[in-house]
Symmetry: C2
Amino acid sequence: MPELRKDPIIGRWIIIATERGKRPTDFIVEKNATKGGFCPLCPGNENTTPPEVLSYSGSAGHQPNRPGWELRVVPNKYPALVIEGNLNKEGEGLYDRMNGIGAHEVIIETPDHHETFTTLPPERMRKVFWAYRDRLVDLGQDPRFRYVMVFKNFGAAAGASLEHSHSQLIALPIVPRMISSELEGSLSYYKYKERCIFCDIIRQEINQDLRVVAQNELFIAIVPYAPRSPFEMWVLPKRHASSYLAMDDAHFTALSQIFSECMRRLDKCIPGVPYNFVLHGAPLRSQPLEHYHWHFEIMPKLTMIAGFEWGSGFYINPIPPEEAARFLKEASI
Amino acid sequence: MPELRKDPIIGRWIIIATERGKRPTDFIVEKNATKGGFCPLCPGNENTTPPEVLSYSGSAGHQPNRPGWELRVVPNKYPALVIEGNLNKEGEGLYDRMNGIGAHEVIIETPDHHETFTTLPPERMRKVFWAYRDRLVDLGQDPRFRYVMVFKNFGAAAGASLEHSHSQLIALPIVPRMISSELEGSLSYYKYKERCIFCDIIRQEINQDLRVVAQNELFIAIVPYAPRSPFEMWVLPKRHASSYLAMDDAHFTALSQIFSECMRRLDKCIPGVPYNFVLHGAPLRSQPLEHYHWHFEIMPKLTMIAGFEWGSGFYINPIPPEEAARFLKEASI
């Protein structure tokens, strides 16, 4: 059983993923081998993944775990956390730990092995965003979970171990540190200004028009003012909402359009660039929050996290965000 | 001039290092080329680095910036921050920024191109630790600086762009987020218990003896209870001290011995492993703090920081620290 452990000084949690247990020598030549060979995510190989928890297909008579799907969600075969068990929290002297209870799922975004999130047409990307919603709703009914982190790794350098286009989600029994920091920071601002800091950022970005990459009626994509990585982008809904689940049908369409545009602009600037993206929203089952605002963060993998970044929590970014935004905006797509 | 910018939501600072400015296409094939070729850190090439700010040599008549040195500290030729200028802080709507004032130096640990921090004998490593001290004292006299982050990147995968053994330091006009978090976390504990949390950790680790890698009279090396990375180690002084500058001569000897032992144990477990280490201590010019405790954190580079880690601040570690400690302790060196 994996274990969650808390650093007693700064409260950072880590997962000891024993299912992936290794001896020291196992690390020596570890390389991601994502190209070629057998693909467990391709149609016809459904029996090599755990049984699906969700699938979408165009035809009414589609059988589960059989070819014919357009999108498929399956439990991760090598999960960081496991779904069965109780949430036992216990101390060990001054330390805290709990059972590694959680869910770890893979969203297979397309049956086509050669399609990427960049080449996926917006109307098909829309289904991926719906799948996130469906899984968030379902996992939110499990009272053991407090947060579901949805994310995507693209390219071996960004941590993808399979080439076939997919995203992942991890349901967690605690609200992760990054989200708590955002919740706390935006709450302090709200207490002082009685306004949502993200709404204020959107207003300032539209007025300054220095870091806006794309917008439509419902969404805006910006390079943030203090980006950790070159070409980092955030995609935010223009209308205030703290949870991803607040989106209506029109939002899904608009989100797919702007997200697809961002991916194509990024790929035009730096073809094939590895990247990660993450969904940040309010914790599961929270009331609508006036101070918090859900959004996506897209992080191209172009710089190295080395000693200085580890030690300080500071990031060094070689491109001013205004320049990155200009490159992205001017890319012809 | 580089710029420091603050994320308005969580207060994370980043450095826009314009001296390293790049166009998008510059990133495409960027790879660290650390092997072979001309080495600017080797003796005889002193004129290819900026003039040294410190050097140690065995002979009294040694000329600055000439061969014959045992250790040499020079400004980084491609600094993330620059030393000249005033600290102008300014707002831009709801955003904050300041001039990128700071120091960025390279500590050339040995004249021998083929020596590593692992093969460096403890009595020579001692000089490296003295150099950190000398530079901390000197830079601490500049009232613009509030923190000096000392760190080392070893191996291209850990961010080293030069093969010749060296560490670095960056003097900053603000206390970095990671240090503030440690200061705040340890202060909360102190307020509740009236004890230093690090001292309590040392006591518990000695009693449990599950994660201790090495110890001598003055220092202890442990795998922390909640390590971010496999084989992460912390080296802490047993006697309470908040600042690195509190070390006396005996401490330098004991530190070099235990640190060298840790490096050799790590290299025995995973030969040639890339790693980072960082020095964490109280901010410059602070009074001795009862709640904080200086230490080194050594982070082997064995896992990938991907979407989940970026998005959550959580880390997934495939080896329980008790097992890692056992491997390290049992390695025959």
